[in-house]
Symmetry: C4
Subunit: 207 residues, 4 copies
């Protein structure tokens, strides 16, 4: 291929990545909108507002978990794009599907925060973890598209591509376990999701 | 033209595209704000929250349709900018009009989600599809501006420009049919819009 | 100055402009959040939802005016940055003050939409136009900072800089007239603001 | 190190900075969503809407303070990135922690605005100032990571790095004083936060 065409492909890939980055940055910042100013029934005194702010810990917990999960997904998405030489239409829409799930995350986060201390907690936790099942599937689909359509850089060895595919394949079944575990206790689901976030952080490197 | 002026034009065009990309990225991410945490009257049990989350399928449907429509519009907008050599003030404002419609999309999406299962569904569907009529007009206006003001790159043949104009011209009448069809049944309107999204996806290529 | 330092200044300026662009893009897209799904008292029929959507015309009007005003401000801000060679701390904060006003615009827009058809319309219109008085002052401050601190490119003649300063100086008094006119009739205030938007569009060129 | 690897590092650093810039730009723009259209009980007359808009001064005050604090944090964050040659995983997540606190800021800002004139004001002020304690800690952590992991550019002298560390170390204790002072009077807390914003502005330079 000639250098001009190659440069154009680089630009194309860079632009899709910049768009994706924008979506990640906005989704991560919108999470704060799920935190609502509390309105204690007595109108607010030093002690009632303190209690009200502290009693919102489920919101803070799910805010922090979703924040770091999106941040780690961003870092992994970025690491994946570093290995991609060019993009095509199927890759563009596989990436679109991934972004769809990323922009959706504030919603189950908010549902979890609203119901974490209610009898409906198992459903909220399963909805939260279930969203990550779909996110895991989206990552697998994106990577499979990159591999099958020969979009990877020459420097990415077949071996490395396969190793990454193996790692991505862990996501859906593990999040499925978290989803099921929510019906035992919601904190199991949340704990597995937090543990997985740390696992992706440690196992995903920027190289 | 001298190289310095040409470089400046490239930069100018790139910056307008970056601004447009930002607007697309934000509009696509704001769609999630239309998804509201349900509040079942019994305060939430496993079964009532499950039912409440499932009963929001109209919201999810319109979220997904609007997401992919904006994503496809972004890809097409991007493909169009790839063919543009420089921009001028009329093009800037034709592009601004397109962005106005793009930022508006979350609103009819939300209206559709709210009324899909009510007697008012035909109006909501017509409002939704009607917005895409205007979006189609905006695309036609932008392309006509680029052609009439000679803003296209030399490599874009007159034939190709005409072919694209023909394709863009299909949008408004087809979305108008969807708008009218909403008064037969709302799902007809939604179905035509979804089918058109797939058509734009398949017919618009990144070249 | 050596080329390396010059390049660094260019980068610095570009980055502040990119940040400003982001703020403009987000502010312009957030305007849609002021559009609320109507809830007619009968739960929504074909005719009641149609009437309810049409009766929101004040919201649509102020959405469109604010959208185009922010868009034009963006184009003018961009034209100004094209003339700036380097930035310093006072310029950075003068620019910050301008961005403060830009991010504020969705609020008076929303107030105007809520009260356009009520007895409180004159106040809402004055609040709306008054915000543009402050925006005009911010543009003047930014331009004066660029001139007084010798941040302009060599190619910007003193004559041209003075001519632009004259044009920017028109903003505050004209918007002040719009603010006062709101107490005669709100549509006078809105009309002057719309006319001024067109004036900025026509008089501000991307050169 | 070879030039290609160096260039890649520059790109990597630039991309993380662009992502951070996006988060700063969105967080600063979302502040406006905390400003709510007032609804005076009489439906709105010239005098009741005027009074209602004026009585929201606590919202405007906290909007302006948070806006400038985020803007100054952005400028300081940017100045810090200018001194960073490359990033690694610990730095990426230290930066992520900083962004977490930045995206959180609209929430305590909103709480402060809601309770500034109520008996709960001391708690709201302490929550507001306390968030800045954590933000200060995040800045210290980020700078310590950059230093300990040798991520700084060669041109940044050890002396300068130490001087900056000293300055960053001032943040947490001073904001802690503001937090405690809120229990004497909320305006003390707000005043110290505003004074510190001006201090960061003056002491932080873009070099």
């Amino acid at each position: 291929m000639n250098p001009a065409a190659e440069e154009k492909q680089e630009k194309e890939t860079g632009r899709t990545e910049a768009f994706s980055d924008g979506v990640f940055a906005i989704a991560i910042t919108l999470l704060v909108l799920e935190l609502k100013v509390p309105h204690p029934p007595d109108g607010g005194t030093v002690s009632s507002l303190s209690r009200a702010l502290l009693s919102q810990w489920p919101s803070y917990t799910s805010f922090v978990i979703s924040f770091f999960t999106i941040l780690i997904m961003w870092a992994n998405h970025h690491a994946m794009f570093n290995m991609v030489r060019r993009i095509d239409v199927p890759f563009l829409y596989a990436n679109g599907f991934l972004l769809l799930v990323v922009t959706f995350i504030p919603f189950p986060t908010s549902v979890l925060a609203s119901y974490l201390e209610t009898p409906a907690a198992p459903v909220a936790g399963a909805f939260f973890a279930g969203t990550y099942v779909v996110l895991g599937l989206a990552f697998n689909l994106l990577w499979a598209t990159a591999r099958n359509r020969h979009l990877l850089r020459a420097r990415v060895s077949e071996e490395k591509a396969r190793e990454l595919a193996r790692r991505y394949r862990l996501g859906p079944p593990l999040y499925l376990i978290a989803t099921a575990a929510s019906f035992i206790h919601v904190s199991l689901a949340v704990g597995i999701c937090a543990a997985l976030a740390i696992f992706w952080l440690v196992s995903g490197r920027l190289d």
